[in-house]
């Protein structure tokens, strides 16, 4: 119960504005650790009130309209204030929209979609690694190269970083994948292959 209350208090502190958190969160948590019994409930209530007060009544350097002095939008600054949850949500939506637009742009010409097949594997095309479907082979290779670098699994398989997984690299795949198995349990978990 005590651990649960502490976790809850930590979350309350994390939701405070960054500047306040950086300055006082450690001490507030230390004080929470000193509390006993019913004092814990009172401190949780105090933490919640503090959160509301800091978010609603103490905009600090960030104005009510989300502007810094001089009408500089908060989102475009590298100040010590993090963007609020709303700005992060907008950023995520914009990123998703941009990703969709780029994806559509590259796949909008079905007549030119030709899979980039890896030659000489002796496999039917269905089982060959398709690096990229796109309007041009060069563009596809560039995109695949970036995509392979971003994906830890593909990056491990693509030993020479050329954006393709060659026959030799496929043969070496078990070894390459074992290299990602950080805890050596013979299995790859999401935590081991996450970016």
């Amino acid at each position: 119960m005590r651990r649960l209350a502490r976790s809850l208090y930590c979350w309350l502190l994390r939701l405070h504005p960054q500047s306040f958190r950086q300055e006082f969160a450690d001490e507030m948590l230390w004080i929470f650790d000193q509390a006993e019994g019913r004092g814990v409930g009172r401190l949780l209530a105090d933490g919640l009130l503090s959160l509301v007060r800091q978010r609603m009544l103490r905009p600090a350097a960030v104005g009510a309209a989300g502007q810094l002095p001089g009408d500089v939008p908060v989102f475009y600054t590298c100040e010590r204030f993090l963007p609020g949850p709303g700005a992060l949500l907008h950023g995520a939506a914009l990123s998703l929209a941009a990703f969709c637009v780029v994806t559509l742009a590259f796949s909008a010409r079905p007549s030119q979609q030709k899979p980039l097949l890896l030659p000489g594997l002796g496999l039917s095309p269905d089982y060959q690694v398709v690096a990229w479907h796109g309007p041009s082979r060069a563009t596809g290779r560039r995109f695949a190269s970036v995509y392979f670098r971003l994906s830890p699994v593909l990056g491990a398989l693509d030993a020479n970083r050329d954006g393709e997984i060659s026959a030799a690299e496929i043969e070496n795949a078990p070894e390459a994948l074992r290299g990602l198995d950080k805890n050596g349990d013979g299995r790859l978990s999401a935590g081991e292959v996450i970016w």
Partner: protein, 116 residues
């Protein structure tokens, strides 16, 4: 130029108690909470959220300042706070104002002769 102390008055309860707790010595946040509880015999309990919100405001106003001091390993993360001369002046003015309030209240609340 002498600062206009009246601009800070009246002080809120939390502000008054924090300044009062720092009047005798420099204290860290938890020390201020304990001192406020002691001074009020446990009737006024200051939460850390209220405390640090007020401390930040007081530091911005120049009434309180943070003190750098070397502490033992256990206290290395603690930050100490001190009343500035401006803070002392404001506290003295507030106490004087409260003295007037108490004096007036005593006069008004004194039972009139012959009244039960």
């Amino acid at each position: 130029m002498k600062p206009n102390l009246d601009a800070f008055l009246p002080l809120s309860s939390a502000t008054l108690h924090i300044l009062l707790a720092l009047a005798s010595e420099d204290r860290h946040g938890y020390g201020i909470m304990l001192e406020v509880a002691r001074q009020t015999e446990g009737r006024y309990k200051l939460g850390p959220g209220t405390l640090y919100d007020n401390l930040r405001k007081l530091m911005n106003q120049g009434l309180v300042e943070e003190v750098r001091r070397t502490a033992g390993k256990e206290n290395s993360r603690r930050r100490y706070y001190r009343l500035t001369s401006l803070g002392s002046g404001v506290l003295a003015e507030e106490i004087e104002r409260l003295r007037g309030v108490v004096r007036e209240a005593r006069l008004l609340l004194r039972p009139a002769p012959g009244r039960v």
